[in-house]
Symmetry: C2
Subunit: 342 residues, 2 copies
């Protein structure tokens, strides 16, 4: 199981996870893309020294260049680090807190990306932890900061607070009814953005949408977090009431969709990552709504992550081509659902 | 269970059923479409008297006008009578032998349609029985017969022998590989025809094809039967070897298709007749090839027939709209497969 996803989660009938990150840079170093490897290592040491000194929690430290490709991909698939980390892996490294709820990425796009991850909806706790780590680092390091502009970042879209707060929502009902379009338009108007997993707009894979703040300039951190939280709670309410409306008016159609997905997941022999995601999403909805009963189904969330390529290869401890992975994925999911696993 | 489908069947890994019919008319009556109801009743009595007198088996007699619409449809769905019988139901009637392997239709398109039905491939036995009934009737009735043309029929395509012999084949493998196209072309060249269930050519529902003689003129009955039998045996051989080739080279893809169908049949809540047929066809293939094990699956053939609208309504003993039938169909099939039925 992905560690940071364990434990109680608020509003997890609709919310999958909360992610907060801030982008920071140190004034005495060039931006990562312009650094030499030696400079990157010096910067890494500066940050390491600060982090290791007096933090409450234990952190593990990894240099990207010391990890195998498969290991790198696992951290990406678990959302512990961003895919950007692989692009300049000679210079990149990261620290992960024991409970995996916090990661400090060094030389991603910026010198520092402080990230916290939570199951369910947890913006305030996420921001508090992010802030705590940020304050600790800022007390000892010389951040690139401008009186007028705020924190300076490699990409102009992050200048200001450097903050990106995002919540992953599971929105099958409002997707089925088409309400999602109005929701997405509404979000744009108030400076928030909704991205479907692996795609823009309403074609979200598995009805998963990541909703986050678009602007980092002109708003205080607390305001950003508060506004996002309020809006997310509204969307949760709408998704819930649409679910109940579907249950009332279209129960059989809903059950048909959910059970067909269950039938395919528990019987298919070859299953692509995309198709697995779609069916897992349907089954998760069925389980959350109490329309389908199987204790194994609470693991749907885990499977939604473990269906991914690198996770599967780690599980079987070998490199696999796409077809082999599709076969292995079908087997893992089938056995999990049918409870045949040892 | 459909009665005539019970009992041992030859080559039933590929063959579903064999049907033989001859078209006959009595010289002293007008063709059915030109008769009054009174004339039709007189003709019916003539035939009844002959049939009831000295036949070995017992026959049940039904006038179409005395049956409910649902009952009429059931006989059609079980292939015991043809859909044409419903069109002039004021004049039509039929006799069914106790084992339902033989039907004598009165005032279908012709005055007489003698039909025999068998599970699996059984052209010779089918023809023998058809011939026996035909001889008995001919000995007592004055058939419309011309020295040069043979038996006279309403439709010119039946003039001559009046014989149509057809075999229903389950050809999933040669359909999947595309070989079916060459087979169908080859059949045309030798005066045979292949019709997909509910469609022409290669778009057959459930991979079911009815192969029959096209010509009734210029060939003796025995030649027609012999030729059809030889050709069917060739097609059976080809389907079998293609199945083995698929098992060898594409086993997992085959299993994936079969098990997905199994998963959908055993879990869906709303199932159209067409979709049911497709999945039942896949599961039947899996069962015949030993790729899927479930004792209930030998009933797939029964379900391929019982999925039909009128059968479902009889089962539930009420009129149903399409949606209600789709729901009932899903339930019947699901319970049968999962063995939950009482």
């Amino acid at each position: 199981m992905v560690k940071w996803l364990t434990g109680p989660a608020l509003n997890d009938d609709v919310t999958i996870s909360t992610r907060i990150r801030v982008a920071r840079n140190l004034s005495k170093y060039k931006f990562p893309s312009h650094m030499t490897i030696e400079e990157a290592d010096m910067l890494t040491n500066d940050i390491l020294n600060t982090m290791m000194d007096g933090m409450d929690n234990n952190y593990r430290f990894y240099r990207m260049r010391d990890l195998t490709t498969r290991e790198q991909l696992i951290y990406v698939e678990e959302h512990l680090i961003s895919p950007n980390m692989i692009q300049h892996k000679d210079k990149s490294s990261f620290l992960i807190r024991d409970d995996e709820k916090a990661t400090v990425m060094i030389n991603e796009e910026d010198h520092l990306r402080i990230q916290t991850l939570w199951p369910g909806l947890n913006l305030k706790e996420g921001w508090d932890l992010c802030s705590l780590i940020d304050d600790r680092l800022e007390a000892n390091l010389d951040y690139a900061y401008d009186e007028n502009w705020g924190y300076l970042t490699t990409c102009p879209t992050n200048v200001g607070t450097g903050l990106r707060a995002s919540v992953m929502l599971h929105l099958p009902s409002v997707s089925m009814t088409g309400e999602i379009k109005t929701i997405i338009e509404g979000l744009r108007k108030i400076g928030l953005t909704a991205r479907g997993l692996y795609g823009e707009g309403s074609e979200a894979l598995g009805y998963l949408y990541q909703i986050s703040n678009q602007t980092t300039l002109g708003e205080a951190e607390d305001e950003i977090i508060d506004k996002l939280n309020r809006v997310i709670l509204q969307i949760i309410t709408q998704e819930r009431s649409t679910r109940e409306r579907l249950r009332e008016k279209r129960k059989l159609e809903l059950e048909d969709r959910i059970y067909r997905s269950y039938g395919i997941l528990s019987h298919s022999r070859i299953l692509s990552s995309k198709e697995a995601m779609e069916h897992l999403s349907n089954v998760r909805l069925g389980w959350v709504m109490g329309l389908i009963e199987n204790n194994k189904l609470k693991d749907m969330l885990r499977l939604m992550i473990e269906r991914q390529p690198a996770k599967i290869q780690v599980r079987f401890n070998k490199d696999m081509d796409e077809r082999e992975r599709d076969i292995a994925r079908a087997k893992i999911i089938r056995e999990c659902i049918l409870g045949l696993e040892g």
